[in-house]
């Protein structure tokens, strides 16, 4: 983690990729993908964040402990999202298998 000096070209490459994905996410937002617009935007954002974490923050050259901490942070975030949405996305579904509307709107 400490000693590793990455070449300048690597940083430019990553920056280029980030710019490309920024343009892509704006462009794709104006194309009708139906229900896929949101997942695609999210996937692009996750890709960009991963690039920043791995290369700008040097996690790719870091210890296993650092990788573990990064993973732990996002894992618990997913627990928060996942278990909370377990409630909201199953409102109206009865335990006996009957199904109401998936989304409760107030």
């Amino acid at each position: 983690m400490s000693g590793h000096v990455s070449p300048k070209s690597m940083y430019f490459t990553i920056f280029g990729a980030l710019m490309f994905f920024t343009a892509l996410t704006v462009g794709v937002a104006f194309v009708d993908l139906g229900h896929l617009n949101f997942p695609v935007a999210l996937a692009i954002a996750i890709t960009k964040a991963t690039l920043v974490i791995l290369f700008f923050m040097h996690v790719i050259h870091s210890s296993r402990l650092t990788k573990l901490i990064v993973a732990t942070g996002f894992f618990f975030l997913l627990i928060l999202f996942g278990l909370t949405m377990t409630d909201y996305l199953t409102r109206g579904i009865q335990p006996n298998g009957q199904k109401g509307s998936m989304i409760t709107q107030h």
Binding site: T84, T86, D87, P95
Partner: protein
């Protein structure tokens, strides 16, 4: 055996003057700063509890008006949870002991450690201010939309106080994690660590991953209250249940911030006073981590009647049953450790037995609440109040007192009067059960929590409860007297009055500012009581 001499040079007399305490970077002195401030908040929270119990001795609301009563139980909860229970064992005993237990000179970030204490004091001041100017009446849970658009009490300063104090807790956890990873003495591998350290490692994980969520939630609540926006307000399209999800995402694991460190204390004491290595060391160690992780998966058991989906309720109910397993693993391992041990019934061990009994009752009654059917019947009744007091007072405070007594000779270099300590342990145990056991029955019979009046047929049990609270108050007060007394008149303790294993007992009592004269090298397995025998002194 010769009487040991009180060490001439130690962390207490290394430097003098109030500045040397308020600007100290010594983890041991910071622990004492916490001890003093946490005790003040404990007294304050206890005072509110006393008023609640006094009001409830009669069915009518003759002492406190309904509004005042609401403020009393709210401030009792807020002060006890955020300003006493959460910092109690980690910030006092953890702070004092972790560096010594791992053979380090201090925590990884001594300045951040001091900063944590100041943040705690600033947050505490905001909350005290809120109490002084009239208090707050939302319940410690701050449920919306009452807290954001109806209550006319001091929600904002209290919320700010809790927000600020949260960062004290986060920074303490951060400090512990880094310290345990990086500062261990040569030879002190992970599986040679005292279980107290494992428990604090797990606690720190919760502090770091859970506390920020309640912080941002309180911030959203404050914004909603201050600007009238509708994130949690159903009248404006918001969802109050979202607030509950976010609140309990932290506040269920927060119970483990209170109980895990106590479990760490119990593991140390059970081994020491049974004169045996802990049974199933790695199971006890990993069960701490399991509790920390599983503790994050069960929060909605507080919301079974709040309108969550039946499907989600089933998932959370199942997971809540599962989280009992690692706690049971610990309890069985402690029992197995004591089995056929030569148990020494010194006063700290009496507190340990208190913990084991009360925590077991608290844990088992939790299963009633985790099951969907019974929870609907006993939700928001005194059954719940009794249950969580068995965990958080019977468990956490018993563990805290056990730890304070066990480590008092290390902290101060002096012994307290053993007979008084045993009397205190007994008074706490008896008083506690008399206070809270009737509340299980009251709750089962249907007495709701958070009301200042009740039907006359509940009076007998309520009077018993209030009488128990009086005994409990005595049990809590006498250590304050004899521990202070011992500072001057107590017998000199020597390095290792309990004949315990562990690096903390190899250094002098009270320790030097730098803990050890030279960095210790660890070659022993943990809790090696068989080989070490019981040399006291």
């Amino acid at each position: 055996m010769t009487t040991p001499a009180y060490p001439e040079l130690n962390y207490l007399n290394a430097t003098h003057g109030i500045r040397s305490w308020l600007l100290t970077k010594d983890h041991k002195r910071i622990a004492l700063l916490y001890l003093i401030s946490v005790t003040v908040f404990f007294g304050l929270g206890g005072m509110f509890a006393g008023l609640i119990r006094l009001e409830l001795t009669t069915p009518a609301g003759d002492l406190l008006a309904a509004d005042t009563y609401n403020k009393m139980f709210t401030m009792h909860g807020i002060v006890m949870i955020f300003f006493f229970l959460i910092p109690s064992i980690p910030a006092i005993l953890g702070n004092f002991l972790i560096p010594i237990m791992i053979g380090a000179k201090d925590l990884a970030f001594p300045r951040i450690n001091l900063l944590s204490w100041y943040i705690y004091i600033i947050g505490g001041s905001f909350t005290l201010y809120a109490i002084v100017v009239g208090g707050v009446d939302t319940g410690w849970t701050f449920y919306t939309p009452y807290s954001t658009s109806a209550s006319n009490t001091n929600v904002l300063p209290t919320g700010i106080g809790i927000f600020i104090t949260g960062f004290s807790s986060i920074l303490t956890g951060l400090n512990f994690i880094v310290t345990i990873h990086r500062m261990r003495a040569p030879g002190l591998t992970w599986f040679r660590l005292p279980l107290f350290v494992w428990a604090h490692y797990a606690t720190s994980l919760i502090q770091i991953l859970g506390t920020p969520v309640v912080a941002i939630t309180v911030l959203m609540l404050a914004a909603e209250r201050a600007f009238g926006i509708g994130i949690f307000n159903p009248a404006l399209g918001g969802d109050p249940v979202l607030f509950q999800h976010l609140f309990w995402f932290y506040s269920h694991p927060a119970v483990y911030i209170m109980i895990l460190p106590a479990m760490g204390v119990i593991s140390e004491l059970v081994a020491c006073f049974s004169r045996k290595p802990i049974f199933g060391y790695s199971f006890v160690a990993f069960s701490s981590l399991a509790i920390a992780v599983f503790g994050f998966l069960v929060w909605a058991h507080h919301m079974f009647v709040a309108g969550i989906s039946p499907y989600a309720a089933m998932v959370f109910s199942f997971l809540s049953f599962a989280v009992a397993i690692p706690s049971a693993v610990k309890t069985f391992n402690w029992a197995a450790t004591m089995y056929k041990g030569a148990i020494w019934l010194a006063s700290p061990m009496i507190f340990v037995f208190g913990f084991l009994g009360l925590f077991t009752i608290g844990g088992l009654t939790g299963l009633f609440l985790a099951s969907l059917g019974t929870d609907i019947h006993i939700h928001d009744t005194y059954f719940v109040v009794a249950h969580f007091h068995y965990i958080m007072v019977g468990g956490a405070i018993m563990g805290y007192l056990a730890g304070i007594h066990f480590y008092w000779p290390k902290i101060t270099g002096r012994m307290y009067p053993e007979a008084w300590a045993k009397f205190s342990a007994l008074a706490v145990f008896v008083g506690f059960n008399l206070t809270f056991f009737p509340q299980f029955i009251l709750g089962y019979m249907g007495m709701p929590r958070r009301y200042h009046t009740y039907p006359p047929e509940f009076q007998v049990l309520n009077v018993l409860s209030s009488a128990g609270a009086t005994i409990l108050a005595v049990g809590y007060s006498i250590p304050l007297i004899y521990l202070l007394w011992s500072l001057k008149y107590g017998k000199v303790a020597g390095n290792n009055p309990w004949g315990a294993t562990g690096l903390e007992w190899k250094t002098q009592s009270p320790p030097l500012t730098e803990n050890f004269t030279e960095t210790p090298i660890v070659t022993e397995e943990p809790y090696d009581y068989a080989r070490q025998g019981a040399h006291v002194g």
